[in-house]
Amino acid sequence: MPRLPKLPAPPLPSALQAPPPRPGEEVTKGGPLEDAKQAGVTVVDWIDERTSLSGVGRWLLFRKVPKGTNWFYTLGSATLFAFLSQAVTGVFLAMYYRPDPAGGAYESIRHVTNDVFLGQFVRGMHKWGSSVMVVLIFLHMGRVFFFGAYKYPRELNWVIGAVLLVLTLVMAFTGYLLPFDQRAYWATIVGVNINGTGPLLGPYLSDFLRGGGEFGATTLSRFYSIHMLIVPGLIVALIGAHLYLVTKLGTTAPPWLKAKERSELLETEV
């Protein structure tokens, strides 16, 4: 990694600056208060000396952004935060959920919604948040498309984003079964059978999803595993790749901003 210049430290207000030593006064360094102030800096320095993480942080956060960057550019971050919200609420919902098709799954969701403190709120966040995430993804995708931000050299990031879209829809589909009420059950029956209408491989795909020829004892735990282990892991990895490419390649200016010709190159003024 190239050596990056250090950011200038912000100037301290004069009231907070230590007064210069009086003539004849001994300059005392340290003291318990000074040591305490330095403790945090020392810890951060200790880690940074061994990891060079501050360089990564500067590389990631202190980027040049083009003129004309506007609110539409926040849709990607919004999607990221929707995903983080889903991840956090999902992890805590998993503490209460039981993937038991013989009534336990529905009962555990009922317990979360009706009995657990803030259960209805956390489950509501997860349930409505999934729709929010899908909507935000499409808005983000629309921004990238209409601003032409998918063009060279960012095509790979478009492809990764498309895969992330599909994985998010897989999350929405597999999560839909987990409450195990009538709507969840029939929506999954219909969804799995739609998968099965793909020629040649379709029947095998729907057997894989169901874990057999009929909706069976393992279908629910299979969906649960896909929903909370396989796909989230893939999404996290691909979001990492997505952000790496965004940082490496930078963002685009909006299409209505034309690059300004340098005045000394204008023919009229030569």
Binding site: P101, G196, T197, P199, G202, P203, G212, F215, A217
Partner: protein, 231 residues
């Protein structure tokens, strides 16, 4: 445009420069006499192979574990649904039976049963079936159809699939008739067995999922389960 002469040159070159298989002849530093693979190359290959074996040792069993159910055959179940006198030859009687035991309501389905009626069931395939058992699973995407007596139709609530008395499609999006179940009579009891699918001529096929047509090329585009056994 590539000149043809370049291509010919390259081909000729390749044959001219005959490489010896011995590393010593190829002037590789530290070569032993009679050695054909350098130690570095051998070591790299060994490390890659060991890594591939280690990764495969957990990936392949896990994958097989996940896709195993596709190739697992389930035993045929026969369920008693009532006595012979319970079913008429002119109308359907709905019966709830268990397809997958052990998961409560989710493993159950409704089956519409009537006695074999020579006036209606003229199809040669139905001749030796004592009772006709029609699955309520719609052949579109698997919603539950309902027998509407007044209309003499099976009607699907989801997307408007309509089937006639024999389960043949008369309207809506379904791609084939309703599935059926094998039936038999044991003593005085009617028993319902495994599922089978039919095409629009009521020809029998091993069970397929909904949405998979069985007419024409359909039976080849949507192969049956490798474990589906014929009765």
């Amino acid at each position: 445009m590539i000149r043809a002469s370049i291509l010919f040159d390259w081909v000729a070159d390749k044959h001219d420069k005959h490489k010896s298989k011995y590393t010593a002849d190829r002037l590789i530093p530290g070569a032993f006499e009679g050695e054909t693979v350098t130690r570095r190359r051998f070591m790299t290959g060994t490390a890659h192979t060991a890594g591939a074996i280690a990764a495969g040792a957990f990936t392949l069993p896990a994958l097989g574990f996940a896709i195993g159910p596709i190739f697992k055959s389930t035993p045929h179940r026969w369920e008693t649904v009532g006595e012979v006198g319970r079913f008429s030859a002119n109308n359907y009687t709905p019966v709830v039976m268990t397809l997958t035991p052990g998961i409560g309501e989710a493993g159950k389905t409704t089956v519409y049963i009537r006695k074999f009626n020579p006036a209606i069931d003229t199809d040669p395939y139905d001749r030796d079936t004592p009772f006709i058992a029609i699955s309520s699973r719609c052949a579109h995407v698997g919603c539950p159809v309902r027998w509407v007596d007044a209309a003499e139709r099976f009607i699907c609530p989801c997307h408007g699939g309509v089937y006639d008395l024999l389960g043949r499609r008369v309207g809506g999006p379904p791609v084939r008739p309703l599935d059926r179940f094998y039936t038999r009579v044991v003593g005085e009891d009617v028993q319902v067995g495994p599922r089978f699918s039919v095409n629009s001529e009521l020809r029998r096929f091993s069970p397929r999922d909904p949405g998979e047509p069985l007419d024409g090329i359909g039976q080849y585009l949507y192969p049956s389960r490798p474990t589906a056994r014929k009765l």
